[in-house]
Symmetry: C2
Subunit: 152 residues, 2 copies
Amino acid sequence: MSQNGGGIDLDKSLGYLLKEASSALRAAMEEVLRPLGMSVTHYSCLELLAQRPGLSNSELARGAFVTRQTMNVLLQALERDGYVTRPAEAPVGKVLPTRLTPRGRRSLEKATIAVRSVEVRMLAGMTETEQSDAFRILQSMIRSLRDGNDGA
Amino acid sequence: MSQNGGGIDLDKSLGYLLKEASSALRAAMEEVLRPLGMSVTHYSCLELLAQRPGLSNSELARGAFVTRQTMNVLLQALERDGYVTRPAEAPVGKVLPTRLTPRGRRSLEKATIAVRSVEVRMLAGMTETEQSDAFRILQSMIRSLRDGNDGA
DNA sequence: TAATCTATGTCAGGATACTGACATGAGTCA
DNA sequence: TGACTCATGTCAGTATCCTGACATAGATTA
């Protein structure tokens, strides 16, 4: 019944399932972040800065999977509201190293708790072996997709 | 070094990896669909209709992971350009069953070939066992995330 | 040194998807 | 039958993110 002339069977497609899982994860994260007035990209930016202080706009963009233009707009808002600081002039080159303010750190703490609950829920019912399998398999998929992008 | 005070270690987070994989997949699909003048949502809509002719606007939206408003705009464009047809009046209720036209079917054929190449590339280097593992694990993650949405 | 290439930060405009809102049709229940 | 609930299609406004473009700083190369 689900066999169409050469088409891709969505019910059996790993790509479709990947999109579905990602969509469900994003929706779950939006749900817990909304009460905190924070978007997923917003949270990603703060979490990246907590782990690697001094990241530049472009590096943050790559880490949050958006363009540097999009991240730039977000950083301007975060800076205006006092969550992050950037030097007025670049210490070297054009790169402006960004850092969390105490206020940004406090804001992140609540968000981290919320996001962790989603991650825990997602992992519920998976054995340790399945979790490491998932990790390895996802990395394999990413590597395969990236290699073909501009490598050949 | 990547240990921050109670934060989420992105390098070890399955959620982050899932987002990365999904982002890579989407980029790869956009790359092969762009020469055909087709977006991912555009393609998803056509593929859904090929497998389940007569799907409604709302059903297509859920299948493509967008809102019904977004899908409605897309369907209006696809109808205007002759890729799909919808009856002027609903046979029953308000639901307008949508079907591919021959032109839509031809357009989908090329897209399917392009998307299949991406899927094949993504699966490269994975054993059959790993593929079925990935399938089962992703389904587990989706189920866990959905259950907590409005269930409790 | 000078030329070229690459990466960065930023501005402007446009594409895409979402939230809010409304009227309508179908099912449920008293 | 009538009130209620729910899902649908659709319009309008908004938010979000992207593409295109520019000037500039550092690295690379001749």
